[in-house]
Symmetry: D2
Subunit: 388 residues, 4 copies
């Protein structure tokens, strides 16, 4: 490529949380430029946001339909390469389908859609069009998560026996959705968020992380979802027992009423000869707990490159001790997506390290996870088979 | 009291693990002396162990029956005050009953008995005799566990909503019971250990800790017990969903195949206004995670005595920064038992801080926990009512 | 502003370390675009690097003189706003002076120059021209460093009594400069790096951090600089006793032969009523150790905004628990510089939070620090007065 | 031995800090019994304390002279084996000399004496009598300190290059000696404590730890001692640059005005191929930071006995994950002293592991350390040769 890729954004007007994150992630490595946007359904906010982001007026659109329509007609050397969708869950599907139908690649904030059925339609569409879709399961962008995945894949620790993944947050400990917290409002509203609250919002991240690192698939769940804060409509807390396809067992916990916690995603994978532990709060560290020798602290960017996977080093920008964080993990998703897209455009081959980003399959798994835990929660049977 | 209390020990010959721990705990504060023992069912080991412990030959007994019989007949200023039982689980009941029947107070290593029925008989006997029984749920002896309990009791954090308690160990990751590991051998043998392995051995500690700190009772369980290492007869791993009597939910995990873990008991209690976190590996610290202000690190022995419960300070021997550990926690159980017993002998009143040690009620709960999780594990129903 | 600021870069060709960091930092927030560069003194590398960065050929210059000359002549709506200098230390001064002389604002990687005299000339020039200069003392860009500074300034903890600042790295534990490590080669070469090695490279960061957070000035030093690895020409390790202008004492340690350390900058400031501790490896945390109450863990981006300084929140992009790191700290310097520059261009007032970035004064202090510790090291007197 | 060793204690009446610690340490392993005491110079306190400790009235002495005199005359099967001295520093020498003169072995709380000269007399006396003296430099009793020492000795990490040892406490941050704090009163009083405050009280521990672990000797010091709290007579804070006999450099910091710190002794030793880090607050962990591979977390009591020194395992009582702390470290000193003494009595050989406890040589080094840093502090020369 001899130019930056051009991005059009749907949603993400000023004051939105995740849209700003996507822009930083896209900007960071100088591979992508924001070229246009339909940044809000509120025209005033859309215009103001476009101005703040230095968008030309004529490419500050008021609806995603307008954006896609008009961009489609621009000359090849001007029109966008891909559409990024950062709206609430219920508004993922329509712009995604329209973008794909018009030949644009797509980035979607997770969960991929509002229902499993929508997810399947998107999968089908991606298959048909051959376009590239990135689903931003951020945590898969961390180098030490990739390190963990590769160590399991390389059988360094033997067969996986047990997975504990926990994701406690405290920010919904009170009924903030009634106190003007816009994030809380849509995320706890079944019409905007979907059929699950905490499990949809963060449980899906945890489930994805467990499957991503272990290379296993969940086959059964036993879910206990709770509405802890009175007056809320969707689960704000839940515990799920898991079975995986190699016989391993697991526990997944997702709570948004764990008062005093920030965003404490953590995973532990126990295998025959040792275990791995990774926590998002200190993401540059991977603990390798050996059965027969001292625990090792593996560090992102460290000099002992013989011990680090190429997938880990590919996703680092700095030497060890210069902490990279959430935005860099997010940036890695964009960087890999951009490199894959550039390779596509250039007609070259992208490396396996580049192609390792979440897409429609992960989107399907995420929607299925929500369906399955909700179904299990309503059942009096202990185990519910995980269906897709 | 103007003398040390006299202890007779059943089990705990040389090479036994927990007997040595009990002796250190009993010695530590200079309130107890070992006066006699039936230290092993192997006469040679019994004699050798007695010699190593400086016991007189005539009080180095070969069976607990002999010990209790002969001690009963000694003059009041010589005979033991209490019997400590540190045999494997199946051999707790008989010496305990005989000791109580002969007027001796009793210390028993947990679990209190082999079956719930035995536990109930012991409870009845203690009630009848009015004697004092200490059940050594060690973790309840840590000052910062007591601090946590009192903070919940004093409603500092509001209603309890969620409890996560985890107890991973890795030492049974291989089939060590077939490789001459004596500890592994009896603990994985249903005839010596009881109807559960990991849940009986360490799950009961976790369950006790959860109920002790929260002041709540488990009302329902949904258990998934696993035999992870092939060839083993009892569960070596398990995950349990919990419901408590105030409506709180919880998760309890106990695993002895978490390769690379030592003895990593940890509990988190989430309440309306914040959460508590305590981990046995760093026991002098209690994290208080507030919903609306910075997390605080409460430290055992700290100078800010206005912030520390009298139950915490009563169980510290040193100022903050002089780490106390497992043996001191164990020692606290003995110290409180000894002070309670001395008060009884002296006809004085022991303080509430002294009387706060586990006894028959906790023993019953422990045996019931084992019964309930085993029953739940065998059921296809999600929830099993917790019965006692 | 209704456009991005335009940056020209001197140095930072492919394979350079700090140039790439500057570009990520400049890109991150979408306020700056790289418009041209004199990226290497090697023409081939310069051209290749320009291509990789999507620079137009005509703005891929071969020398900084060419760049500044040609950019000066471009129309106002094309020419760069500022020059970023990321060459080795000996090559900071000339491009900086030329840029300032031609009306460009300047960003310089630290240390500001090769000698104190150069630094003073730059200071004079900035004063004369009124242009804005950013010196990238990265660590001052971390939100919790700013939090610490403001807490000291607001006298929350009383008078500062003692400062311990340590900066151990291990990467020069062997004679890597003889093994083809280009970074090691120039940094250990007095002709390129200056009169000190470790003290110049990282000691200056530590000294800056101590003065920045405490608001104090070093008045005396007692330095012990060492060449630990045989065959090296400059100090690779050193310890310095400090006195500050309020009477506080301190210790500064900088070592590049602390084998096994990454980039472990850490500072502790002790005051009358408590202390602060911040470590770069976990930069989102500031420990506040109170004399009379529990230590608090202050977290960047936390919800308790009443406890966080406006300087801290201004420099965060994400809510607590989404770790920001080294690149975001670096990005904060650029963001504040860009906002200050935009305000200048727009004729508006930049806030105090924006204007809080290192500049020529800090550059002078850094060069003086090097001079003073080198002088002290050569002296047999205990204390050397810190002169500027 | 077929009996416990008999101890007589000088000092350590109720409310004394360190006397109680010594008794717990002596009791813990069942090898020692308290047989008599001259527990206070206040007769009432002496008697009350004796009663609380279950001492017979006739062996509750009022002065150490009385105690030693009368004990000397008791029959061999009754009289004490050794005298433990836990008085303030100025009152160490006289009872120690008298005990040795009467054939009793001795345990002394550090520092060994009030002056270097006294220390030398004690050394001479120990040499003449051949009796055993234990100096309770507690920190040398920790298993992972011993592990560190042996790793250096075995050259696992190459030559030692740099030692950083820090010992911050905060308890003298205010003028507590004027507010009825008895510990503060004597420790800040030159007539009772000696010619240095913080350096004597805790700096000596730090210096001992540095020499103990590294096997090196300090050869030069450059000290900056401070009286931070106005109105105090002795240093309450200090920083010392060090040179060691192999050319290594170091920094030692001891402060009792580090507000918010507890007892945060920590040491880092950097060698050619890696470094060691040990902190008293988490004493069961030794970090081994390798130059070329991941940092390892070595744990006391761990199963990987091939990686742990016999000196470490000899000084553990429990398997990994059952934290042992300050009292066990102290207990290790007593246990080794008792085993060495028993071997002497039995005419057998004590192992090297047993004999590894501090004695008169360490006492001399400690007193010399105080002398040297006080002398250096008064000098305007940078370096002061360390003399003994």
């Amino acid at each position: 490529m001899n130019r930056k890729l051009r991005m059009g954004m749907v949603g993400g007007g000023k004051d939105a949380f995740i849209g700003a994150i996507h822009r930083i992630a896209a900007n960071m490595d100088g591979l992508v430029e924001l070229s246009c946007g339909a940044l809000s359904i509120n025209p005033e906010i859309a215009r103001e946001s476009g101005k703040m982001l230095f968008l030309p007026e004529e490419r500050t659109y008021l609806t995603f339909e307008e954006m896609i329509e008009k961009e489609t007609k621009l000359p090849a050397d001007q029109k966008i390469d891909f559409v990024t969708i950062v709206t609430p869950n219920f508004a993922h599907f329509a712009p995604a389908m329209m973008a794909l139908d018009n030949g644009f690649h797509v980035v979607i904030e997770k969960p991929i859609a509002f229902t499993l059925d929508e997810a399947k339609q998107l999968q089908q569409k991606v298959k048909e069009t051959g376009l590239i879709l990135l689903l931003t399961h951020t945590y898969a962008g961390y180098p030490m998560v990739k390190q963990a995945k590769q160590m399991i894949k390389d059988n360094v620790l033997g067969k996986v026996r047990k997975i504990w993944v926990e994701y406690p947050q405290g920010w919904l400990s009170r009924l903030s959705e009634r106190e003007g917290n816009a994030q809380a409002a849509w995320r706890t509203d079944p019409k905007k968020s979907g059929k699950s609250g905490s499990m949809g919002d963060i449980g899906t991240h945890a489930a994805h992380l467990a499957e991503y690192i272990s290379g296993l698939k969940i086959t059964k769940v036993c879910a206990d979802l709770n509405i802890v804060v009175e007056g809320r409509q969707l689960d704000d807390d839940g515990n799920v027992l898991l079975k995986f396809d190699n016989g391993a067992n697991g526990v997944l916990m997702a709570s948004q009423v764990a008062a005093g916690e920030e965003n404490a995603l953590k995973i532990r994978v126990y295998c025959e000869n040792g275990g791995l532990e990774w926590a998002q709060h200190e993401p540059n560290t991977l603990l390798v707990k050996w059965l027969d020798r001292p625990t090792e602290i593996l560090r992102a960017g460290a000099g002992y490159t013989d011990r680090l996977s190429s997938y880990a080093t590919h996703n680092c920008r700095t030497p060890g001790g210069h902490p990279e964080g959430y935005l860099e993990a997010f940036g890695n998703l964009y960087r890999n997506f951009a490199l894959a897209l550039s390779a596509r455009i250039d007609g070259t081959e992208a490396s396996a390290e580049i192609l390792d980003f979440p897409s429609v399959e992960e989107g399907i798994r995420g929607m299925a996870f929500i369906d399955n835990v909700v179904r299990s929660n309503e059942s009096t049977e202990k185990w519910t088979d995980y269906t897709v």
